[in-house]
Subunit: 334 residues, 2 copies
DNA sequence: GGGGAGTGTCGAAGCGCTTCGATGACCGGC
DNA sequence: GCCGGTCATCGAAGCGCTTCGACACTCCCC
């Protein structure tokens, strides 16, 4: 079983056919009679054969591996990243591909290296910034790629993401429908906006647009992630706008602090202040009270990114932009 | 630059040497004169040559890729995992290896598959359980492996981890020195203990042993991760033991809730209750007040795991167990 | 000054797979 | 009963690299 490695030659001998026949059974690129196919497949699992990945890559010019490039930076929300990563791996396996993990340490050199050495066939980039230095490189590379998130200039690239503008808008619409006429958005830390991270900005834009459309009063603020800062921000907000009754929180690390701070400020949720979060479901469910939220559909985004990548690998053309619709889950906080 | 792929043959022609000479320059397995080496290296970067990973793997029987196996389960603290992962990638690159990401979805089949297909040379397993079904498989595989965490029966395996028993003990010692004579450990959710996760149990054992050694009163409780459960647990604890003045928290997701709950229960930190956490530094620093903590040295663990793996790949023998000493950082909460 | 003992380099044989062109066998139509 | 056309299979030529044995030099000691 786990003895010496079994080669295609041994399978061929065992099944009494030529090596090429075994190869064609495996790839399905030529017609093979049912009988022969059966015999070959039986030999394959009698011997426990697995094709040698390197040999296959060499002969076929396809490694059947994709690279997942994930920078790990401050302010990024790690659990979400991890769920993306997991979704990408699972999806890739469904297309018979494996996933090589690349981090930011090596920068663009890492991308160049694995592309040039034919270690991978294609790239999935996560946590894309508006002005991302990996983007020009990707443009000049022959290997196809899909970005999770949108850079400032996405022309000619394939990008997938949650439609954050719609998500921001949906939160406003929800609060407006519930009769709240003065609301606020607590967003990412200021540094994230400055870095130009797309999803933070687009949520804010969606929020601002929806506030206008629904004729409610709304203000968008960045929000640091320590309890003290959250408390201070909320205290100021509620002092200046005592009739504020709706809050949109788009900052996963701060949601817990927001609820604690409201508690300490003597505001009940949802009786005094309704809260909607944009965050993963598990965070929303674990909070108390459980939060009405727009979830970040990590699994769906990952799956879609891989699907698009496989289309491109097969030479098909795919749409530049894929925006996944937000979905609001009602819970106790509104 | 990013044109057709450059092969070793072209490098050899460009430098006016044999293909094998180029190979020896690259591998250093035979002596090459300084002049020839220079000429070859110059040609290599004049042409932008990168060895073809598949061809290399085929000829040398080494893929220069290691697999990182990380199950993604409930109760696991994801940001920590991610830091391990990142550390492993960085460390692997220093040994000129890349990292293939494997998740739990495929179970042991995935491990078997990538080993048999020679996609990877070795394995790093994360989040190892006391009774882990991947462990027997690893034992029968020819490829070396290193586990991050300890299974129940670690004989013959190479394992690396923070010394959690020492960490638990160190927290107790710290509180005891500060004069607290009645303390409690809030640990992982009950399900984590039931699953037999090693680090949770070992922390508890270290806590219990240290409590006895320091002659203080101490109780260890599992701790769920919702605010309401944390609140209820603490309320009960403080009602039954009003003179409880020290708390060890070994549950990253719950630390925030613990502090909120103490606030609501009218206990000041550290004046009424001193709190020590076992968690990553960033979590401890972001809490308010900042928590005295034993950090989980993810980078160090990842680096050490890879170092041991490379030793094994080179045929050297390494110690079975590597326990990294805990390090307590003093902050405002004690 | 002839015989080892290095040094530095080359050529060729694989590594395990895919793929192309060739070869039979078999079929129906005239 | 011969011809063109499928269908199923085979053999061989690579893919780009490593590695082994061979070879030609140089050096130095007796």
């Amino acid at each position: 079983m786990s003895g010496r490695t079994v080669t295609i030659t041994e399978v061929a001998r065992h099944a009494g056919v030529a090596v090429s026949t075994v190869s064609y059974v495996l790839s399905g690129k030529r017609t093979i009679s049912a009988g022969t196919r059966r015999r070959v497949l039986d030999s394959i699992d009698a011997l426990g054969y697995h094709p040698h990945a390197g040999a296959r890559a060499l002969a076929s010019k396809r490694a059947n591996v994709i690279a997942l490039v994930l920078p790990l930076r401050a302010g990024m929300h790690v659990p979400v990243l991890m769920r993306f990563a997991s979704a990408v791996v699972t999806a890739a396996r469904r297309y018979d591909h494996d996933v090589l993990l690349l981090t930011a340490d090596e920068g663009t050199d890492g991308i160049r290296r694995v592309a040039a050495s034919a270690l991978v066939d294609a790239f999935v980039l996560m946590d894309v910034e508006l002005d991302d230095n990996r983007v020009p490189l990707l443009r000049e590379l022959a290997e196809p790629s899909v970005l999770i998130g949108f850079p400032a200039e996405p022309a000619g690239l394939t990008c997938v993401d949650l439609d954050f503008a719609a998500a921001g808008g949906q939160c406003v619409a929800h609060l407006a429908e519930r009769g709240h006429s003065r609301i606020a958005l607590l967003g990412a830390p200021a540094v994230v906006y400055e870095r130009g991270t797309g999803f933070a900005r687009r949520t804010r834009e969606g929020f601002v647009a929806a506030v206008a459309a629904h004729r409610v009063a709304g203000v968008a603020l960045p929000c640091e992630e320590t309890f003290d800062e959250v408390y201070a921000t909320l205290a100021r907000l509620l002092r200046d706008q005592p009739d504020l009754s709706g809050l949109v929180v788009h900052n996963e690390a701060a949601v817990g602090h927001v609820l604690s701070a409201l508690r300490q400020l003597g505001r009940r949720v949802p009786a005094d202040v309704a809260v909607v979060a944009i965050c993963p479901d598990d965070v929303a469910e674990r909070a108390s009270p459980a939060l009405t939220s727009v979830l970040i559909p990590a699994e769906e985004v990952g799956r879609e990114a891989v699907r698009l990548l496989m289309e491109k690998l097969d030479g098909r053309t795919v749409p530049d932009a894929t925006l996944l619709a937000p979905h609001l889950a009602l819970r106790a906080s509104t």
